[in-house]
Symmetry: C2
Subunit: 427 residues, 2 copies
């Protein structure tokens, strides 16, 4: 099949007629599929069901230092959970603070606290003239929603396969004191799946921020979420690199078990310097007496150690790999030679990012929706939901079955083709 | 025994010599006891241990509307949990939003949200010149800590056995637009145990606030925490009264299972108008994808309905009543005729509030500490930890065993006597 760009107007019209006929037929089929959401499938959730048996009415309910896990207290998480996250994330346990079920909440509260109370004794952001955040794109819509909700100005930073454009990042961070943070998903990034290179991580650690209350928001959401057990991506450790660079307090690293055990009932943790933890505890102690220690212990008893988590993640990979490959195979087979879209084959994470021809993403998502396939709204991966080139589409292949995925993907590629032909015919 | 105020100087000196000898002997005994914290005892926690068996690896994990309880979603709580809280708190289910494990966090976040985003479209508090809260005293130190942490000016409102001084409350709320809220524990108040009278609740519901973003913070923490199953206090329903008064959005009512099941692993809920819930959801949806639905379902399956909770609370009462009575009997027996302290016999809740002679509370708590009995720091029950008369002491009788309580209470009354004699001798 020839690339669309090389087709004559007549050829394009012929292709359009054929595609339109296929599309109309598809619409009649009454398909109802959803590739919009980064949710684990039921079979993945079943992997962790035995975790609910490790604590029961016969349990001792005692933690380290004789803590009754059922009662009030232990603001920063039980010792056993801190040690588990420390081993998993390869940092000292005194760099770990364990929270409730959501790393999103930890991040929201970090920003909320900075707005009202400030960071490191600096003026609270709500009393500063202007606060800006850098937003590598395409990125995670819920990150951008947090900064938008606080009225923080978001600046788009392009990414390539090694991470954000670090020249731009350095330019902003090192010279503009209004720049207070940058959102990152450094490993298996949402949605592109790219992995930050060692050079990118080192340049992050060696930033010389103009703002003393600048922090790197390092959302390591997919730290152990590999698709290929023989090809696991590694990134440099932000804790160690920042310490080496003399910036020990410059990062907040986040992680959680939301996509390891249960998204609704996992455990989330903040990893940062002991000085940052001491500061954060001063306000968290006003907000809560402590998080759910029973659920923390449930995780500790179920996994025992980091090796337990890694072994568990291999079971997730076995379920997810065929799903990702169903989509990737379909894209390659149907679009490989047409030059109307591009994508990166991810080695982990929860998404495949697809780039259409300029100005086609919204149209593709709209066509999919009409045909019964729900995609994440186009633009969602950009601050203010505004993708200026209108090319970025996020595909979430984890929740549907492989059969459903195959069908959904057929709809998707057809819509990509149709929108692309339309674009060329309009030109 | 004569009242201390009627003793001559010589008699007081003789009493002091005798008390001091007893106190010195006690100090040598090396007692280590704690009456400082409103924590349930182990036997109370054991009552809820079977709750951990109702969900296990064999469970269906399905909620109403086919929700997978393990996965992401359901921002405002599962339907079943909303219905349970609605029945318990006697309000419609659409007035309930279920959160995580802490009503303290709900309250902190309500204030935090008002600071940054405002309430009801009004100017955020951080951009208003002055924000004030009314604080009935003695009250709950963690309430006051929240408002203090946000720099909100706290105004002390005296309470009697019917609740706060409503003339003062009306004067402030109806005429000062800087007054944005009032903290309340309307039933079995912390620490006095008093119960708001019907008139007080009605006057609350009929406030005509000068500030459109004024809300009543109605922390109904001890709604079902009776000590006497044949003498359960009832208060008027704030939801109904506010609706009747044409102020349907004026209250935020809080409750939780922290002292019903597990303080670290309970479920908390906000009860307020559907309009308020709709507003709150707009920001909570940025902060989290949802709270722990498995733990919500655990509670629903364990209790089944409000009757299940009431029956469970009778078991708590059977454990707590002897503890409260051990303290009350000791106070009555040792101090009943001395006129050096007063207290209210509570019908529920977690505390006994004790008033010393003026200027003696700190000294009593200090003497207790020296003798090995930890009390809540004097002043804690006042905003800024400042009890101007230095009379208020909070006794928390729930955690120690009855035997420990008896011993701790003997130390306490001795310290009250000693501090009181010192005061009269200094006069």
């Amino acid at each position: 099949m020839k690339a669309y760009k090389d087709l004559s107007r007549e050829e394009l019209q012929a292709v359009q007629t054929e595609l339109q006929a296929q599309y109309d037929k598809l619409k009649e089929a009454g398909i109802k599929l959803d590739m919009s959401r980064g949710k684990p499938g039921t079979d993945q959730l079943d992997l962790s069901a035995p975790m609910l048996d490790v604590l029961n009415s016969k349990s001792a309910f005692k933690g380290a230092d004789n803590v009754d896990l059922r009662n009030y207290g232990v603001l920063d998480g039980i010792k056993e959970a801190k040690e588990l996250f420390a081993e998993l994330m390869e940092c000292p346990a005194d760099h770990v603070m364990v929270f409730g079920n959501s790393s999103l909440t930890i991040m929201y509260d970090l920003i909320s606290r900075a707005m009202v109370h400030g960071i490191g004794g600096n003026t609270p952001w709500c009393r500063q003239d202007k606060v800006k955040f850098l937003c590598p794109v395409p990125g995670y819509d819920r990150h951008f929603a947090i900064t938008e909700s606080f009225g923080i100005e978001m600046i788009t930073i392009p990414m390539d396969e090694n991470g954000p454009d670090m020249d731009m990042v350095e330019e902003y961070v090192n010279h503009d004191a209004a720049v207070k943070g940058i959102w990152n998903i450094p490993k298996y990034s949402n949605p592109t799946g790219i992995v930050y290179s060692d050079e990118v991580v080192r340049r992050f650690a060696n930033l010389k921020p103009a703002a003393p209350d600048f922090r790197i928001y390092w959302d390591n959401a997919y730290a152990v979420h590999h698709l290929y057990i023989d090809n696991k991506a590694q990134i440099l450790n932000i804790v160690e690199e920042c310490e080496k660079a003399g910036n020990p307090d410059m990062y907040y690293e986040l992680c959680s078990t939301s996509k390891i055990t249960f998204p609704g009932a996992g455990v989330a943790a903040l990893i940062t310097s002991p000085a940052n933890i001491a500061e954060i505890k001063k306000t968290v102690t006003i907000q809560t007496i402590g998080h759910d220690k029973l659920n923390q212990m449930r995780h500790v008893m179920f996994f025992k150690n980091a090796a337990g988590i890694h072994a568990h993640m291999e079971k997730h990979a076995a379920i997810l790999k065929p799903k990702f490959e169903a989509v990737l195979d379909c894209l390659e087979q149907e679009l490989g030679s047409l030059e109307i879209g591009s994508w990166i084959k991810p080695l982990g994470g929860y998404f495949i990012a697809f780039d259409t021809l300029e100005g086609c993403a919204k149209r593709v998502v709209g066509l999919c929706k009409e045909a019964g396939v729900v995609m994440t709204p186009a633009g969602s991966t950009y601050p203010y939901k505004n993708d200026p080139a209108d090319t970025s589409i996020r595909i979430a292949p984890t929740l549907p079955t492989p059969e459903e995925l195959k069908q959904a993907c057929e709809v998707f590629v057809l819509c990509v083709k149709l929108a692309s032909v339309e674009k060329y015919l309009e030109a």
